[in-house]
């Protein structure tokens, strides 16, 4: 079954974030398994998330238990494709595609930075740090991302629990298993 992340030898230390920041910014390949939850005034959903990322391609499987009701979002150089039970759909941006087909969306284009605890390039941001110097809260593009928990994998401290809010939308991303540097199914 799924591989295990190595348990951290020690809790986070004060300068861990500085020491790993360069490696974190360079990290462009990973596989992660977790959950995504979304709460809006009209909707309250949850799903499993399996995300494979490489420099040229990302793939996110959003599914329920037994893999039912699954959707696969795939992006490659500006072209995005979403495959659901109803077929395959394309658009220029993942956000538009998800909103059209699933009725909800996540800021996918920035998520591959936020999920590493980094601001996305090209947009102003501000940030507060916790007492160990790790990002506590990041504000960018109207979103507020709170880093609630961290996990240690592949020699890096990586976010384990992100609460992302935008007006009355609350998205929760929990990463149960990080495998940085690994993407065995990169097509």
């Amino acid at each position: 079954c799924a591989g295990q992340t190595t348990a951290p030898s020690a809790p986070r230390q004060a300068d861990d974030w500085q020491r790993q920041q360069a490696r974190l910014e360079a990290l462009d390949t990973w596989t992660l398994a977790g959950k995504v939850g979304l709460r809006t005034p009209r909707d309250n959903t949850g799903a499993n998330l399996d995300w494979t990322q490489t420099p040229q391609h990302y793939r996110m499987l959003i599914s329920g238990p037994f893999g039912t009701g699954r959707s696969v979002l795939e992006g490659r150089a500006g072209a995005v494709k979403l495959t659901t039970g109803d077929g395959t759909f394309r658009a220029s941006s993942p956000e538009a595609l998800m909103q059209q087909q699933l009725g909800w969306s996540l800021p996918i284009s920035a998520l591959d930075y936020w999920v590493r605890g980094l601001p996305a390039p090209g947009a102003a941001h501000d940030e507060t740090r916790d007492d160990l110097g790790f990002p506590a809260q990041l504000r960018q593009a109207g979103w507020t991302i709170a880093y609630r928990d961290w996990t240690y994998a592949g020699g890096l401290w990586l976010p384990r629990r992100l609460v992302m809010t935008y007006d009355d939308i609350r998205a929760l991303l929990v990463v149960n298993e990080w495998q940085p540097g690994q993407a065995d199914t990169a097509p």
């Binding site: 398994a33 238990p65 893999g67 699954r70």
Partner: protein, 192 residues
């Protein structure tokens, strides 16, 4: 064909309860793995089942025969839905449902490979979640269940250390939702 339906019914009919470890993989049309989870499943006919995912995260689905509760400890969210008694929509129910429904809802063909027998079921109705369901028995014991959908994606569930017709504590099919959880009631039937 009738012989396969009769054979499959004979394999499923004696199965009152079933408990096994599972390893579930979701594979894309080219066969590469999109998701790999494992845990334990309990079944008691009719309509009672518990599906507990342990790796790489925790998640629990419990059916008491009327309602299906999905609890996610990470999201602290519980979704309650009526159990969809259409066996074409609830594979787990197929195993914990009545075998006679099988013949009405599926075209069944069977193949023998050594001690393994694989039954391919194609739903007669076309509004189902999967285009094809395969049940594989090894020495008459359920070993694998595979569901393929219209896009060619496949959910393959392997069972291990199975115990058939053992007694299962009824509490397994009841679930106490933690007070802190968001409870979402959905009218649309569950299709676990």
């Amino acid at each position: 064909d009738p012989a396969s339906v009769e054979r499959l019914t004979r394999l499923l009919e004696p199965l009152k309860t079933y408990s096994a470890d599972f390893d579930q993989q979701i594979l894309d049309a080219s066969g590469s793995s999109l998701q790999d989870t494992s845990g334990h499943m309990w079944l008691s006919r009719p309509g009672h089942f518990r599906w507990e995912v342990n790796e790489p995260y925790r998640q629990i689905v419990v059916s008491n025969g009327q309602e299906v509760t999905l609890y996610d400890p990470d999201l602290e969210q519980a979704t309650i839905q009526p159990l969809d008694d259409r066996v074409t929509h609830t594979p787990a129910l197929l195993l914990s449902g009545s075998a006679s429904e099988l013949a009405q809802n599926y075209e069944v063909t069977g193949q023998q490979q050594g001690t393994g027998e694989t039954f391919t079921l194609k739903p007669k109705a076309n509004d189902t979640l999967f285009e094809q369901l395969k049940l594989t028995f090894y020495s008459e014991k359920l070993g694998m269940l595979q569901m393929t959908d219209s896009t060619g994606q496949r959910t393959a569930i392997k069972f291990d250390h199975a115990e058939v017709n053992g007694n299962i504590d009824p509490d397994k099919f009841r679930f106490e939702i933690p007070a802190s959880a968001d409870v979402i009631r959905e009218q649309s039937p569950a299709t676990p």
